[in-house]
Symmetry: C2
Subunit: 568 residues, 2 copies
């Protein structure tokens, strides 16, 4: 049986109807409400009609197929046949009756006696299946009619005969085989209209617009409700987590994310780092009071950790030579940009060193290169798919032995001498702005052919109080940033392990060493001798977003948290 001509209409329909509405909010709200109510009524009517039809069919006493289809949402149905998975389907299966579970990706009736389906397993294994009336074989007219009326994204239990496709089926991933359905039960139903179609979920977002109220799901820039438009806003994606997640695009990004996380742990495990868990609830803001979430905690207040910095150091002080931790960190920053979130995942490490902090810096450099090379190897398929939606240039890495390490002063000199006009006067004593970073990234790419490099020896003013100054020059520090496509991806340094020095540096920065949280921190270094150490922390979300050149860090994360979004 060859591919029916209209089978892929729903998924690949070109843009039709309105572009995202730009009209005033009031009008949009009213329109959306009216549309919603109309749809609700329509759906209710459809449901009643379908139920009546099924009742009539099964009640007539003439349905020879009545045991071969129907509802299996609660009472399980069982099929006694070989369980197959589409990715393993081969010539050996031809002529066999098999069993599978799959979503309806598309379906249509051809006349009254034949239903066509595209069935989907996992993210993107699809196969063509058909069901034709055949009373001898227990496939009744009622059964076909019922099956043809099932909604896309319903989840099915299917018995079918595997057949060779007479010609390759272009619309499906399984091209050489098709299924002739003999039994079909619905294990979970989908609604008549989806909040976000799979096709739209798999396209680049149309805008960064998100919901207005934190508690609501009322994205007004919905372009999908009418089924016509080709893409949806970020808000529509996030309000429809199920369909957003079913898109191969979303799954590919998730795979890249979790691979970064795994490669991070893998490298550090192999280099004798011990994992530990830092707490989220802490008694005082660990790194200054800005951007800290506070909460009532029994008779006092607690803060949410902004980083595991102090705890990594406590582990080193406690005798672990090398540690890492992976966990959530929080920033109460009211920034509604594609670069900000209030909760993100920190990948943090800390280690003793022997002679010089460059041991730490070089360890982190090797770690990052391991991650980037691992991504190329383990996620090439996913990266290619993501690039087809969100284009990006290949992420250039330095040749082994030719890693690029510039001092901050060298970087500034490069900017002054070869950068854009506006950066001809940048200073060695002040931190860089984002545009400066990007300009320097472009210069480094041009000059050294890499998108990844290290900037070392930051000025004192640019680093927190626990950063060790260069013993030879107190205006610069033993601190480094790691850069990706011209943006900072990791910040790290040698830490101060001498309590007197730590207190002096706190005072220089205007902090009180006796204040809650800081006192306990300094006490740790006073309580016993703590070896010299340093480390760094990576924001997982940013690594993923920037490696893939995603337009928003919110796309790199399963459940992004912003000032305007806490649900679902």
């Amino acid at each position: 049986m060859s591919e029916p001509p209209e089978a892929k209409a729903q998924v690949e329909a070109p843009a039709e109807g309105e572009t995202p509405a730009q009209s005033k909010k009031g009008a949009k709200k009213a329109e959306a409400k009216a549309k919603k109510e109309a749809e609700k009524a329509k759906r209710a009517a459809e449901r009643l009609a379908a139920e009546a039809a099924q009742k009539a069919a099964s009640g007539s006493g003439e349905d020879v197929g009545k045991d071969n289809y129907g509802d299996a949402t609660i009472e399980a149905k069982h099929i006694n046949a070989e369980r197959i998975y589409l990715k393993n389907l081969g010539k050996d299966h031809v002529g066999k009756t098999v069993k599978l579970r799959a979503w309806i990706q598309n379906s249509r009736m051809q006349g009254a006696k034949m239903a066509f389906f595209e069935l989907r397993e996992e993210a993107n294994w699809t196969i063509q299946a058909l069901m034709g009336v055949d009373e001898q074989k227990g496939v009744s007219k009622q059964m076909v009619k019922w099956a043809g009326a099932l909604n896309s994204e319903s989840f099915l239990l299917v018995e079918a005969l595997v057949k060779e496709a007479p010609e390759p089926i272009k619309s499906c991933r399984v091209k050489d085989f098709e299924l002739q359905i003999s039994k079909l039960y619905v294990e979970a139903k989908a609604p008549a209209e989806l909040g976000l179609t799979l096709a739209a979920a798999n396209k680049a977002i149309s805008s960064f617009e998100d919901t207005d109220p934190v508690q609501g799901m009322k994205d007004l820039s919905v372009t999908e409700q009418t089924g016509g438009a080709p893409s949806a806003s970020l808000g529509t994606h996030l309000d429809n987590p199920v369909m957003h997640k079913r898109a191969p695009l979303t799954r590919a990004i998730a795979k890249v994310r979790m691979t970064v996380r795994k490669l991070f742990a893998e490298f550090l495990d192999a280099n004798d780092f011990e994992q530990f868990e830092a707490p989220c609830l802490i008694g005082a803001a660990s790194e200054g009071g800005a951007n800290v979430f506070k909460l009532p905690y029994f008779e006092t207040d607690a803060c949410l950790a902004q980083s595991p910095q102090f705890y990594k150091q406590f582990e080193i002080a406690g005798g672990a030579k090398r540690v890492y931790c992976i966990g959530p960190v929080f920033r109460a920053e009211n920034s509604n940009t594609p670069r900000h979130m209030t909760e993100f995942t920190g990948l943090d490490m800390e280690m003793e060193f022997e002679e010089d902090y460059s041991e730490v810096r070089n360890m982190i450099e090797s770690l990052m290169l391991y991650i980037f090379r691992g991504l190329e190897e383990k996620c090439s398929e996913q990266i290619e798919l993501i690039r087809s939606v969100y284009p990006s240039e290949k992420f250039l890495l330095p040749e082994a032995g030719k890693e690029v390490r510039l001092t901050f002063a060298e970087g500034q000199k490069l900017l002054r001498e070869h950068g854009p006009e506006e950066f001809r006067n940048v200073s060695d004593d002040e931190d860089m702005s984002t545009p400066q970073e990007k300009a320097l990234g472009a210069l480094v790419r041009e000059k050294f052919g890499t998108d990844f490099y290290v900037l070392d020896k930051f000025p004192e003013s640019a680093r927190p109080f626990y950063t060790m100054e260069d013993p030879k020059n107190p205006n610069i520090t033993n601190a480094y940033d790691f850069m990706m496509r011209g943006q900072e991806i990791l910040s790290g340094a040698q830490r101060i392990h001498i309590p007197e020095l730590l207190e002096a540096r706190m005072r220089r920065k205007g902090l009180d060493p006796a204040s809650p949280g800081l006192k306990e921190y300094v006490d740790v270094f006073r309580s016993a001798g703590v070896p010299k150490h340093g480390g760094g922390g990576i924001g997982l979300d940013r690594v993923v977003a920037w490696y893939l050149n995603l337009p928003s860090v919110h796309l790199a994360c399963a459940y992004p948290r912003t000032p305007k979004r806490l649900l679902p």
Copy 2:
């Protein structure tokens, strides 16, 4: 050179002086304050004297050793010799000059010309080292005096000659070799008196008493300040994180903990589970409103997640067949017991199933057995060490193929028929109390020879709204607990994947399906067909505490959070 007789005095001194004070709080406070101030003054005087002595020595112009010792806390000192690690030390090193970094575990002077040290590397690699005046070799009288006055737990850079020990050194782990020191620099200093000695840190806690105020470090049951008592309260341990962590006991527990975590991920990775990250900040209390931390969140409120339950299900709904996550969960419960914490680590998994939820139950059973068997294999040394401090019986596992799975009703029957008198009337329709659980655990151990078993088919009243009822009997559910030493360690179930059923069950439990958080949850199941699924969640802290039979779950955790403790 043989072992000096008093070398191990500080670490292994037997119990002397007071037992933990039981007197009234006011008196204790005053006493503690006075003691603290006296100590402070004493320490300051000592410091001044030591500095003056060193200054005099180095200023005399006669110190032939002056370049071979001193401060290296900021300006690094470098030694040009082979870097050795104690665990690798062997006969090949004898006669060689080597370099190492280590803590002073103990030291003492023998006359004015000889200093003895026990040096420690990592948690428990110790070696005897000595430094005798030898002006020819650049070891001056001043140098020996200075070195002999260094405090225990200072961190050193050492150059030394490796020698064979004339007789085995009993007090050190390295028994056959000793070091003759030629250079010694202090990279980090320790105080004259430790808040907690290593010996005490390595003993069982003397009491569960913790600090009074959340923000303070004023544990009043300190038994260590005078150096005499053999053990310390939980509060003293937690107020002295550095010394607490340096104890091999603490490190052994941490190793067991992180091994459970790793084995969990390892088993699930091998069984095609995908890891994901659930958010901590959520817009509404996910599982009823009790025991939820709330915080101001820009223009609204946020809650801290009590479990990743909803998010695991969203992942399954989104097309992942099997998922797991590892992360912090929070309970705002004002319980000050050794069993409660406000933040702990959840190990959670969820999976689609095909025919029956027992597929999920059996997967989790295999997972737990994998973890327990892995612990025996990978942590036998640590478990033995922990047992020497906190005794526990061997954790009995069922033979392969003889796993114990009881229904809740069977468990209750066992209790009624063979349990203690007071449980002769337990009902099949009500959840068990902790004493009932423990009694049943004892019966199962006696009857089946295992400390680990599954209790299945819990009564409806005992389970949350999202638990699937048995389709054949709505009074029981497709829900199970996993038991360890008679205590619940994992709770899990088949979940409801049908939105109408979910709403009905919410109403039955007195919840409003339209309330914030619940509405978005039900919407997920309405938005597309979601396959049948189930899962479970383990509290990592409890698994560790109960496997090791620790007297408090707070000992299983690096930074326990309780209503009274948020620092350090």
